[in-house]
């Protein structure tokens, strides 16, 4: 479940200063400072988090970037999968949409 309204045009961002990550065999424990919560991410979710920390991007560019980074076939990483990853990360607060104030 997303943490608020979602649409394809939203740019997603993350601040790398907000979290610390520890890697254990392709899985990542991430401590998120703003919520003081610890999250257990697989390589794909963590990859998405890292991408959004590198630069804000919408769901389409994120999908393309992840396919490239992990060298995955288009069919193996459909947009729908990335969408569910984004919604889960959104729910934790690790990523959030760029909003104009």
């Amino acid at each position: 479940m997303a943490a608020g309204p979602v649409d394809d045009a939203l740019l997603w961002k993350s601040s790398a200063d907000d979290w610390v990550a520890e890697e254990f065999d392709d899985t990542f424990l991430v401590f998120f400072r703003p919520s003081a919560e610890t999250h257990f991410l697989n390589f794909l979710s963590f990859g998405a988090l890292r991408q959004c920390a590198r630069e804000p991007q919408n769901m389409n560019s994120l999908t393309l970037n992840l396919r490239q980074e992990f060298d995955i076939e288009d069919a193996e990483l459909p947009l729908s999968l990335v969408k569910s990853v984004v919604e889960q990360l959104d729910d934790t607060g690790l990523i959030k949409p760029v909003t104009s104030k």
Binding site: F28, F31, A36, T38
Partner: protein
């Protein structure tokens, strides 16, 4: 001055308990206790006879436990007792003879909710010269029985309730209070440690029959000697099952230790760093077993 409890006069102890100035120091904590029941005094003079106590507080402490009647009437008629650690707990009043249970539960609650200097994980901990074994289990998982059995094997008792994890270096701090035994575990542990090491039975409590296993004097005098974890175990006792151990990835171990901690969320990042350090430097297993003998064999095979 602070001295082993048995060196004090009963009269003086009773007075200090009544005045709320009785102080017991153990490991990282000083406990200030008040209560005027004889059942409490008898229990302390028996099970806590070698513990260091004082008749006056030597400093301010947050671990304050008052064992009092739930209301005025219950001070006189069908006398009852409730632990009051200074914050709201949904505590059921207990008959006066169950004062030891109220005392032990009250102290556990107090430590669980007041301690911020160390990360607290609900777990049994014992250690030898090569390192400590942390055992985290749900109620009924056999944690206390296993802790008592390992203590009888010669391990130092750290605690039957809390792994106290140092936030700087993830070492474990001893806090050797008596081991709380329930129901079926009482005869099992009595067979292993001998009946003179077990307190009188308290029958018919909300947790069934209970008794407390004494702590060795040598463990009490080593209550400031920390150790590093070498094994993290998640034991599961199941009648008739054959013994088996499954190794866990450290991340998996951490995700199980976090919910067993009473202050992980409160402490935040330092606790995250400490638990990562703890799990990285130890091996973690989930073990299932059907008897205490099996579990002891399994633990020694795993390098315990």
């Amino acid at each position: 001055m602070s001295a082993p409890l048995q060196q004090f006069d009963s009269k003086d102890l009773k007075q200090a308990l009544k005045a709320g100035t009785f102080t017991m120091s153990l490991g990282p904590f000083a406990h200030l206790v008040s209560g005027s029941s004889d059942a409490l005094l008898d229990f302390l003079e028996d099970t806590y006879r070698d513990y260091n106590v004082d008749l006056q507080p030597r400093d301010v402490t947050e671990i304050v436990l008052s064992l009092k009647a739930p209301n005025f009437v219950r001070r006189f008629v069908r006398r009852q007792i409730t632990p009051d650690p200074g914050f709201d707990v949904p505590a059921v009043p207990l008959p006066l003879r169950m004062a030891p249970l109220a005392f032990e539960m009250g102290l556990n609650l107090s430590v669980a909710l007041k301690c911020c200097r160390l990360m607290t994980i609900h777990a049994g901990v014992v250690a030898d010269e090569k390192g400590a074994i942390v055992m985290s289990a749900a109620s009924g998982g056999g944690k206390s029985t296993l802790t008592a059995a390992l203590m009888a094997e010669g391990y130092r008792l750290f605690s039957d309730e809390f792994a106290l994890v140092d936030l700087e270096n993830a070492s474990l701090h001893p806090y050797p209070r008596p081991i709380s035994l329930k129901q079926q575990s009482i005869p099992v542990v009595r067979d292993i440690v001998g009946s003179d090491q077990i307190s009188d039975l308290i029958t018919g409590t909300p947790k069934g029959d209970i008794a407390y296993c004494r702590v060795k004097k040598s463990d009490l005098s080593a209550d400031n000697q920390t150790s590093h974890a070498k094994l993290i175990l998640f034991p599961r006792f199941e009648e008739g099952v054959s013994p088996v151990a499954r190794m866990l990835n450290p991340a998996e171990a951490i995700m199980r230790l976090i919910p067993a901690s009473t202050n992980y969320n409160l402490l935040g990042e330092p606790a995250f760093n400490a638990v990562v350090k703890l799990a990285r430097n130890a091996r973690a297993y989930e073990i299932s077993y059907g008897s205490t003998a099996q579990s002891l064999r399994l633990i020694s095979e795993l390098g315990g």
